[in-house]
Every structure is written in structure tokens, then in C-alpha cells.
Symmetry: C2
Subunit: 141 residues, 2 copies
Amino acid sequence: MSSVKKMVVDWKGNLRFDSRNEKGLTVSIDVPKDHGGEETALSPTENLLASLAACTSIGVLGILKKKRQNVTDYAVEVTAEKREDPPPRVFTKIHLKYKIKGENLSSQAVETAIKLSEEKYCAVGEMLKKSVEITSSFEIQ
Amino acid sequence: MSSVKKMVVDWKGNLRFDSRNEKGLTVSIDVPKDHGGEETALSPTENLLASLAACTSIGVLGILKKKRQNVTDYAVEVTAEKREDPPPRVFTKIHLKYKIKGENLSSQAVETAIKLSEEKYCAVGEMLKKSVEITSSFEIQ
């Protein structure tokens, strides 16, 4: 079973682009000043990192909720190694460090949630992992 | 030569996440209502399509500028086929349709710019193409 997703990307001058989904929601993408942009929004590769971390996080929080774990605070630190030369400037490694706070959180439940989300549910990670080494760790705070 | 990029992703409740780069620029990511989110921003996979199209577009417009082509309007229509079942819900195919307007644009210059950008410069496409079939076409308007 498959579905079709459509988006429209509009040029907003210089190197800035607004991308709109079918419901009218948009995201702006720009380029850093030292690469000729105006730095009004994340770059394409930064946006890719945001997509990856949000994707795994949706799974992690969804699974923890099902396991009746009460998460009160949650963040991910993303560290990515980027090859600068030669182009294309791809990420060679991405590390996701999950930092989770909650009431009586089970370390085992957190570990399983991260593993399941990363290996089974996160589509962005699945599409990247043939090209990029993706690793993760977690800290219960 | 490589560099390190860091980002922090903060949970904003339910399934919404704000991702911040080192310069303080942020992007919000949410989930559609029929998947439990509040639909305040693009989903992770929509954001990935936006990243890909902006990435190739930066190259296309940069190359056309170097070739002294005067582009006056520019958009990309993205059509992606998504496997819905089983998870993860990955894209199996992505098509980028470039729609370019300008003064006396050379069709050959446009074709070369797209090819060069997609094959040589765009890092997002490079990281995805081992998993996803990415094709493109263009129309000079």
C-alpha cells in the first residue's frame, strides 16, 4: 500500500525557498551568509537533521506513552560530522543524544523505545542509513 | 576535510518539536491530526522533501547565475510516493519538476544546471539516493 505526497517549493529571492504542503503549512529554508544566503532560516542539511531527530522522537515519545512512562521533559542533542570537501557536503556520521526527564522512568523502557523507533518506525532514518552512520545514546535526568 | 554541526531539538508538547541550530535559527515540526499531532507545521517526511528540493534549487540557481541566465521566477513541484505499509513509511520515489521563468533562458543551460546540481552538489539528494529513486524534469515557462 502506498500514497502520494505533493509539495510546492517557491523561490523567495536570493537562496531562500518556502515549501508548502497540501494543507498550506510551510517551511522556509535559507543558506548561511558565508555561502551566499541571508541566513533567515535553517539550511537544507540542518533541516534534514531536524527531520531526523523529530522523526525518531515521535516514535520514542509514542512508545513511552504506550508503556505508561510519564515523560515531563525531553530534548535531543544532534551532532553531525560533515564532509566539507569534495562536494557534495554530506554527513558521514550523525549522533542523537536523547535527554529525557520523567517520573520514575524505566531505563529499560527508554532504551527499548529508542531502539524500536530508530529501527522500525522512523522513515527519515531508514532513508538515510544506507549513506550515513547513525548512532544514539540516552541520559535519564 | 570535515566539520561538525550541532543542533538541539526541544519537545514542545504532544508531538511538536523545535530544532535550533548554533546561530539560534529554528524550525518547528509537527504531525498530522490523523496521526495524533496538532498539524501546526510540516511533518518530518514533508520537511525532508522541502530539504531536498531547496538543496537542489540552491545549486540550480547558483549555476544559472554563473552562466548569466536571468531567472525571474522559479518553483519546484515535488511528487513523492510513500510506502504506507509496513512501517517505516519511507518514500520509494521522488520526482522534482522544476518550473523556471526568465529572459531568453537557454534550455541547454537549465538542463546542465539541474544535472550538475543533482549529481554533484546537492548533499541531501546524495544521502537519499541509495534508498530512494529520485528523478526530475523541467519546464521553461
